[in-house]
């Protein structure tokens, strides 16, 4: 990004905090009617909060993200998952904005999920953890803000499942979020999207070590299934062109192919590494629940309710897609734009050119970053 780079710095050392947001006396009431308690949430904050709360930005993460969005935990070479976007002088500029980032309900990085202990049994929930919805994720995001004493939200921002939360938030609470930034998200998964989720879940649930989800503490778990599920994910996150550029048909560690059934091509080695690295940081049951949350997401399903909610909507939107994203291609974003526009909700929409597919939202794509920066600049100016 040229000369502007000079002002872009890292947040440096940051830390994850934890707080219990729902208790037995005040449980989380899910959309299903079931209750859940306790609910603990892991979160991080960056930047200084303005006295009038006019600079609060909430970051919503995608399927396998965590609270650690920016800065580092001690090793500067291993920054948070959205460190390209968030930091001093970056598009989400922590010199001017106060950023809140938490791990999702149902996750496994500090927030209550299937691997947490069920107080009724003293053992991990496993598949006894209740199914939940994107609205339930939003309830937890909101409770964290209440805990922090935040009274206004300048912007909520998220990519993929994160963007789905931003959209749901504006529908559920039309007067809470001034600006929603929805990046490469969808209002409804396609049959193809659900099909990929189904195969990932089948890989986990058919693993002989899955043990109906009660694998915790048994010394064996559905590692094979989870790594296969995770090998599939990057295929849908990258574009064909970016895979061609990254790997082509190159052979791993030698010049000539081995002509065997093991890992021979570089792309195979990459996927295998992705799958194995994932085992260290992710719980198979969380993967089942969070992919299922996405499958059932359909906030525009009831036109009457949408009409009523959007008539009251005070949120303005920035909707972005990437031209090589085929997981949630531009038609998904346009569906969101169409619905919001039809109900007179102010929307700005761009399809950004990027060779990196769905993953683009995590990467430093200059036009994308320029757009988010311009939008937040204006939002901040209007809030003052």
């Amino acid at each position: 990004m040229g000369a502007a780079d000079d002002t872009r710095r890292s947040l440096g050392l940051v830390e994850t905090r934890r707080v219990v947001l729902f208790t037995e006396d005040d449980p989380l009431v899910l959309d299903s009617g079931e209750t859940l308690a306790p609910v603990e949430v892991a979160y991080e904050t960056y930047g200084e909060r303005a006295a009038d709360d006019g600079n609060v930005v909430v970051v919503c993460h995608a399927l396998t993200g965590d609270a650690h969005a920016a800065g580092h935990h001690g090793d500067p070479t291993r920054p948070g998952w959205w460190d390209t976007l968030i930091g001093p002088g970056k598009p989400v500029d922590t010199d001017r904005l106060f950023v809140v980032s938490s791990n999702l309900l149902g996750g496994c990085q500090g927030t209550t999920g299937p691997s947490s202990t069920d107080p009724a049994t003293g053992t991990p929930y496993g598949l006894r953890f209740p199914l939940f919805t994107v609205s339930d994720l939003v309830k937890v995001q909101r409770r964290l803000l209440t805990h922090l004493g935040v009274r206004r939200v300048l912007a909520a921002i998220g990519g993929s499942l994160g963007g789905m939360q931003v959209l749901q938030w504006a529908l559920d609470h039309p007067d809470e979020v001034d600006n929603g930034i929805v990046v490469c998200a969808t209002a409804r998964l396609s049959a193809q999207n659900i099909a990929f989720s189904a195969v990932a879940r089948a890989a986990i649930m058919n693993d002989p070590d899955f043990q109906d989800g009660d694998y915790y503490g048994t010394g064996r778990g559905p590692d094979h299934g989870l790594s296969v599920a995770r090998m599939m994910a990057p295929i849908t996150y990258l574009s064909e062109e970016s895979m061609r550029q990254k790997f082509g048909r190159r052979i791993q560690d030698r010049d000539e192919p081995r002509f065997d059934l093991g890992v021979d091509f570089q792309v195979e080695s990459y996927l295998q590494h992705q799958g194995e690295a994932f085992l260290d940081r992710f719980d198979a049951n969380s993967y089942l629940y969070l992919t299922r949350v996405m499958d059932y997401f359909d906030p525009f399903a009831d036109p009457e309710r949408v009409r009523e909610r959007l008539a009251a909507c005070r949120t303005r939107f920035l909707v972005l897609s990437f031209d090589t994203d085929w997981r949630f291609d531009t038609s998904h974003s346009k569906q969101i734009v169409r619905t919001l526009t039809a109900h007179r909700v102010p929307v700005t929409f761009r399809e950004i050119a990027s060779p990196h597919g769905h993953d683009s939202f995590l990467l430093e794509v200059p036009e994308y970053h320029r757009t988010v920066a311009a939008y937040l600049d204006r939002a901040l100016a209007e809030a003052r």
């Binding site: 303005r316 169409r338 526009t341 039809a342 007179r344 761009r350 320029r370």
Partner: protein, 197 residues
Amino acid sequence: MRPDLDVVASLVPAGARVLDLGCGDGALLEELMRRGNDVLGIEISDDGVLSCMARGVPVLQEDIDQGLGDLADDAFDVVIMSLTLQAVRNPALILREMHRVAGRGIVSFPNFGHWRLRAQLAAKGRMPVSPLLPYAWHETPNIRLCSITDFEALAHAEGFRVERRILLDEGGSPRGGGVAGRAPNLLAAGVVYLLGR
């Protein structure tokens, strides 16, 4: 703001929901927002879109030559196309789409029937260049030039009727006096139409 945009803005009713096709840097929509109109722009250029964002004008980055498929029937009260008609590939499609998404249209364009342009072609045998059409033939974005007479024929064919017609001089300001009214296609350098269904 450009003088022709003042004319356009004056035709927009208070409180109307406005769509601007090819809204450029968003100056007109910013002014209409200030007046309390609910607005949306469509713009194809990166710089235009970013300028709209800096002004707080909601804008969709899209190519209007692909139609307005993201917009519902009657979603707007007024749809504006100022000095853009001459730069699109399919004016008839866009007029049809304007007719679909709003009850009223405001269209402005440089009049290729203006005497000075006719004279340039007739006398010098060169493609005309004027303040409203400032580009040389080989680099102009203006690929669908038409006269007042041409436009009115197409507008009628697409189901529009002319509610008002304001003639512009070469600076884009409304022409004073009644002389041009007698031979508008010869004497007006540009024109703004208010169209109804």
